[in-house]
């Protein structure tokens, strides 16, 4: 199947129908695997990389999960196509920089993508909407087991699965959740959360992984440790922390509604105003403003049927997606103009924010809760 066919359909994880998907955008799990007796891709000579690729790719393509797959050699993809895949989290930034000797295979639903010769010979990645790390793990685990029967994976009695970087050795598993946390950012609690999370051996990163900024109030929470803990233990621990952050976010939103309603109204109102009327907008600005709009939908300032539109804009305003839809490569300034045009057009019929009801509802809920609590105490 051609890439443009796959990319005209948005991936499953963008549908926003997974558990807790208002706050947990997506769950992702990747497994790093290597073949015995071949140098890792970063060290291998071109001929060896190609040998590994030609050995691995047919096995990956013959997986039942890849029955309706898209498969491409890295050199056959344009820079723009690769960037679109990065924006959809189907390939890593590192993989997008590869040429001859690498490839990517992904299923039509865009829930499973296998990078060949990234940092490791195989990176098996699953991604789904909402908080469902265990389901995603089941998928990649099944694929890994099937591939392990055909391919001779490098496995050490003591160290487990061997990887190019010793930070991945053992399970080779990195599980992560992408969380939208505007409540914690607005209430200035996010740094405390980040510190607490890093203390328990988990990492918090920005939108595109290691060393990237937290744009649009989007944060990735992932495990750091891959050795000395079972896959199941890692997932349990990560899940627990994510659920806690989720609860903190929910609480901070309730508290903002109650105590800092003006701050919310102001942020969401300004975002709405700029998005509706701007004529030039960089992607960073768009992400941050759309984040406020998304929060507005979550809080009921906007009707629920606006949700999908806002979620789609998050992706459509990313640089590569923007250029893909305009079918040409654009200069930064042209992109900013086009981005603003698209946002204005899409939001033309979007109703004004109405926070009154939400704020009143929030107060009532709080009152009821307080009465209940004092009743219980008495």
């Amino acid at each position: 199947m051609a890439l443009h066919n796959i990319l005209t359909e948005s991936g499953e994880w963008l549908s926003g129908d997974g558990p807790h998907s208002n706050i947990v955008i997506s769950s992702r799990v990747r497994l790093a695997r290597n073949l015995r007796n071949f140098a890792f891709p970063g060290w291998a000579k071109k001929a060896d990389r190609i040998a590994v690729l030609e050995c691995v790719k047919p096995q990956v393509e013959s997986l039942p999960e890849m029955a309706d797959a898209y498969s491409a050699y890295s050199q056959d993809l344009s820079a723009l196509e690769k960037q679109v895949l990065v924006e959809r989290h189907l390939v890593s930034r590192e993989h997008a920089a590869k040429g001859v000797g690498s490839a990517v295979v992904m299923n039509r639903k865009q829930t499973l993508s296998i990078m060949i010769n990234e940092e490791d010979h195989l990176r098996i990645q699953g991604i789904r909407s909402g908080l469902q790390l265990r389901n995603v793990f089941k998928l990649v685990d099944k694929v890994d087991t099937a591939l392990g029967e055909k391919l001779d994976f490098a496995f050490h009695q003591q160290y487990g699965f061997l990887t190019a970087c010793p930070t991945n050795v053992g399970t080779g598993m990195r599980a992560s959740a992408m969380m939208h946390l505007p409540g914690l950012v607005l209430s200035e609690q996010i740094n405390q959360v980040i510190q607490a999370v890093s203390k328990v051996g988990l990492a918090v990163r920005g939108l595109y992984g290691e060393g990237t900024e937290a744009l649009g109030n989007l944060f990735q929470i992932s495990n750091q440790i891959t050795l000395g803990e079972k896959e199941d233990e890692i997932l349990t621990r990560l899940n627990k922390v994510i659920e806690q952050i989720l609860q903190h976010e929910v609480n901070s939103r309730a508290s903002l509604l109650e105590k800092k309603a003006v701050l919310l109204l102001d942020n969401i109102g300004r975002a709405f105003g700029i998005l509706r009327h701007a004529h030039s907008m960089a992607s960073k600005e768009a992400l941050n403003l759309l984040s406020c709009l998304k929060l507005g939908v979550d809080l009921g300032f906007f009707p629920e049927d606006g949700r999908l539109l806002v979620d789609q804009l998050f992706m459509e305003t990313q640089p590569a997606h923007l250029q893909k839809s305009s079918q040409q490569k654009l200069q930064a300034e042209e992109r900013d103009t086009l981005r603003a045009d698209i946002v204005r057009a899409k939001l033309a019929k979007f109703p004004k924010p109405d926070g009154k009801k939400a704020i009143e509802r929030g107060r009532e809920e709080r009152k009821e809760k307080d009465e209940k609590d004092s009743g219980a105490a008495a």
């Binding site: 291998a44 487990g160 060393g211 050795l227």
Partner: protein, 164 residues
């Protein structure tokens, strides 16, 4: 002295942190230190920032000057890239590796998934051992008929065991 992160600009921020009784030093240029949030001491974890640095020092203390016979990778290459050359390197550079892994992970022994192939091979080997034990017992007990049966079963298993 150059920055440990970008390796280009001159380092102006010098950091020393003691983690689990071990001293780690990092030199950073101004822009990298800002990017990594070093200016906010609370939010900054040295180990998280540069696992490669302390790690490569550990490695250096291990086998120096050695090269992996399979892929030609050396100690110096690890220091440069923070990555190994091939799976065999984990054996060649085993010295120093333990200490490095200890600093990064929860332990140094994998407790998770084992590939199906190895699992089968392990079961196979265990079965073989069990049969051999029974054979010895049968011979000791002078149950030669049982012994002959066991010997045949072992024979049947053995070539496969060698091939796995």
């Amino acid at each position: 002295m150059n920055c440990d992160v970008c390796k280009q600009k001159t380092a102006t921020v010098f950091l020393t942190q003691i983690v689990d009784g071990k001293m780690q030093k990092v030199n950073l240029c101004e822009s990298c230190s800002k990017e990594k949030g070093v200016t906010d001491p609370k939010g900054f974890a040295l180990a998280d920032l540069l696992l490669g640095l302390g790690a490569s020092e550990e490695m250096e203390r291990g086998s120096t000057g050695q090269k992996c016979p399979m892929c030609g990778f050396s100690q110096a290459d690890f220091k440069k890239t923070g990555r190994f050359g091939c799976s065999n390197c984990y054996e060649i550079f085993a010295e120093g590796l333990e200490a490095m892994l200890k600093g990064m992970h929860k332990g140094t022994t994998h407790t998770g998934k084992v590939p199906q192939r190895l699992l089968k091979a392990r079961q196979h080997a265990e079965e073989l051992k069990r049969l051999q034990r029974e054979l010895r017992k049968a011979v000791d007990d002078e149950k030669y008929e049982t012994a002959a049966e066991l010997r045949d079963r072992i024979k049947h298993l053995e070539p496969g065991a060698a091939g796995v």
